[in-house]
């Protein structure tokens, strides 16, 4: 935790325990306007945000506030019309494996077993000549990460044979195996039942502490944002943007069970006031 607190934003990128880099993400006056059938819709205007290496920042806001659009701009799936986005000092030009993405649906490939899903990234990169490891090396890596996410026994199961939580853990493993420097999560647990959600929160917190990766987490759930985030960027307004960035002064490590302490509720009230005020 100390390492994260000491993270220097200006450093650009910081080395984590495993030699991968946790990226410094800088959004500078980002704007996005959609033009459809002659109508212009301003989706984002003047959004600036710095995310320190290894920091977990939640983008919180109602539907249509542009939080998913913002995440997709960082992912490189959408281009912004104004401003700039840099990850680890490099401008974003398109989707790339240094920015892993997780969605509300786990988006596993239904025709591949868990192991082969996890190896999709390394194999695709090997096809492009960017990964020179051979099959036994990749298998060993897949085995290791399967054990880390608790799916060692399900390496040969197909996605339709996994529970909702398992699918999300498999998707997490698949994203992490390509060693991204930032993980972009788009309401990843929004469709899970309440109990599985609590488990996934604990899972994500423990994984984040293990990998010390930068995470940008989109949600419309205040409690989720407070539980997970170092800071919460509250989004909304016309034109949509970040209205306020609120520090979450809660101690780490956090656990999903600690959501009704007085301190927690105080932060929650503060954010609710910001959202509705």
């Amino acid at each position: 935790m100390a390492a994260r607190a000491d993270a220097v934003p200006a450093a650009g990128a910081q080395l984590t325990e495993g030699g991968a880099t946790a990226a410094h993400v800088v959004l500078d006056r980002v704007g996005k306007t959609f033009r459809r059938a002659g109508r212009r819709t301003v989706a984002l205007a003047g959004v600036s945000l710095e995310v320190a290496p290894g920091e977990l920042v939640c983008l919180l806001g109602p539907s249509g506030c542009g939080k998913s659009t913002l995440l997709r701009i960082v992912a490189g799936a959408l281009e912004c019309d104004e401003g700039s986005v840099t990850v680890g000092g490099r401008p974003v030009t398109g989707p790339a494996p240094d920015r892993g993405m997780l969605f509300q649906s786990p988006m596993l490939f239904p025709w591949l077993t868990t192991r082969k899903n996890i190896l999709f990234g390394p194999r695709a990169q090997r096809a492009a000549g960017r990964d020179e490891r051979d099959d036994p090396e990749l298998d060993a890596e897949a085995g290791a990460i399967l054990a880390t996410v608790g799916l060692a026994q399900f390496s040969d199961a197909f996605p339709h044979e996994l529970s909702g939580g398992m699918r999300h853990r498999a998707a997490f493993a698949r994203a992490m195996v390509t060693r991204p420097s930032v993980l972009l999560m788009d309401e990843p647990f929004g469709a899970l039942d309440a109990i599985t959600r609590i488990r996934m929160h604990d899972f994500l917190l423990s994984m984040w502490e293990r990998y010390l990766i930068t995470i940008i987490f989109v949600t419309h759930d205040i409690e989720e944002a407070v539980l997970l985030g170092d800071r919460v960027a509250v989004m909304g307004g016309r034109p949509p943007g970040i209205s306020e960035v609120i520090e979450v002064p809660l101690r780490r490590p956090r656990h999903a069970i600690d959501v009704d302490t007085e301190q927690f509720l105080a932060v929650k009230r503060r954010i609710r006031a910001s959202l509705t005020g």
Binding site: F109, F120, A147, G150, F203
Partner: protein, 300 residues
């Protein structure tokens, strides 16, 4: 690589999820490996049961047929199962007097026409579907053409093809192609449209190139839908080919059936029909097998 993952011997941080419980929305789930294997065994058992029941239904139909034929006792109106079987085996490798070729040869002729037309039709149909899915202009260009052709029975084209292409193999193959293309184009477009945009983005963020994503994600993801389209158009191809052979051919299973009917050899008519049924089932079983390979969630 070392250090990125927990050191060897470290235990998993997260235990496997507890059982979802009966009535949970996600019923198709397991909390440990034994359950997964038990579930797979149960699905295999269910499949064996289904196949056995289906076979029993077919046997019952044959028994009913045999009983009806024995009661009716008129070989021209309704030959028995045994007589049909005998006729089938007899002419399988002996030339039929009115035609000079054995049954297997006519089967081969019909299969060759179907497969030639089917393969060409599938290639053109899938290519058209892929182009329509990729480009809005091409979609708007081709869509009305397909919508006009699709409801037409391919048989309506037979006289036209005979005038244009004669009575050789070509008009029959073209007829199959014409029947297969619209079905394949429509099912391919639907299958490609159904691939979620985020699945593509997901592959790209995992480091896959555009080409790799197109082949290994978009087309791969559409494959079950395309194979289903192939099963549908294969069934259509059989009815087209038999009909055209009844009308305008001097070989093929449809021609044999027509000839046998003219000579009141009802047992051979049935033998021809059964040959079509077996060949059709075999081709469909092949496509079904590919479908199960392509889509693991359909297995069991």
């Amino acid at each position: 690589m070392s250090g990125w993952y927990p050191p060897p011997g470290a235990t998993a941080v997260i235990e496997d999820a507890a059982p979802a419980g009966p009535g949970a929305a996600d019923h198709d789930t397991f909390d440990d490996r034994a359950d997964l294997l038990a579930h797979r065994r149960a699905r295999r058992r269910a499949r064996t049961m289904r196949v056995t029941t289906g076979a029993a239904g077919l046997v019952a139909l044959l028994l009913l047929w045999q009983a009806a034929a024995m009661i009716l006792n008129d070989q021209v109106a309704l030959p028995s199962v045994v007589q049909t079987g005998q006729q089938f085996l007899h002419y399988l490798d002996r030339p039929y007097p009115a035609q000079g070729r054995p049954l297997w040869f006519d089967l081969y002729i019909s299969l060759r026409r179907i497969l030639t037309g089917f393969v060409i039709g599938v290639i053109i149909g899938v290519a058209a579907g892929a182009a329509m899915s990729a480009s809005r202009v091409i979609r708007h260009l081709i869509d009305p053409i397909i919508e006009v052709i699709r409801p037409l029975p391919p048989l309506a084209f037979i006289p036209l093809f005979i005038v244009w292409l004669g009575i050789g193999e070509l008009p029959k193959e073209v007829l199959i192609v014409i029947g297969v293309i619209p079905v394949m184009a429509v099912t391919t477009v639907a299958a490609l449209d159904e691939v979620p945009e985020d699945l593509r983005l997901c592959a790209r963020t995992l480091g896959a190139s555009r080409a790799y994503t197109l082949l290994h994600v978009q087309i791969r993801s559409a494959l079950p839908g395309i194979l289903t389209g192939m099963r549908i158009s294969m069934a259509g191809a059989w009815s087209s080919i038999v009909a055209v052979e009844l009308l305008a051919a001097t070989s093929g299973l449809g021609f044999v059936i027509m000839q046998a009917g003219d000579y009141l050899d009802t047992a051979l008519v049935f033998a021809g029909i059964i040959t079509i049924a077996i060949a059709g089932l075999a081709l469909d079983a092949g496509l079904r097998g590919l479908l199960l390979l392509a889509d693991p969630s359909r297995r069991g």
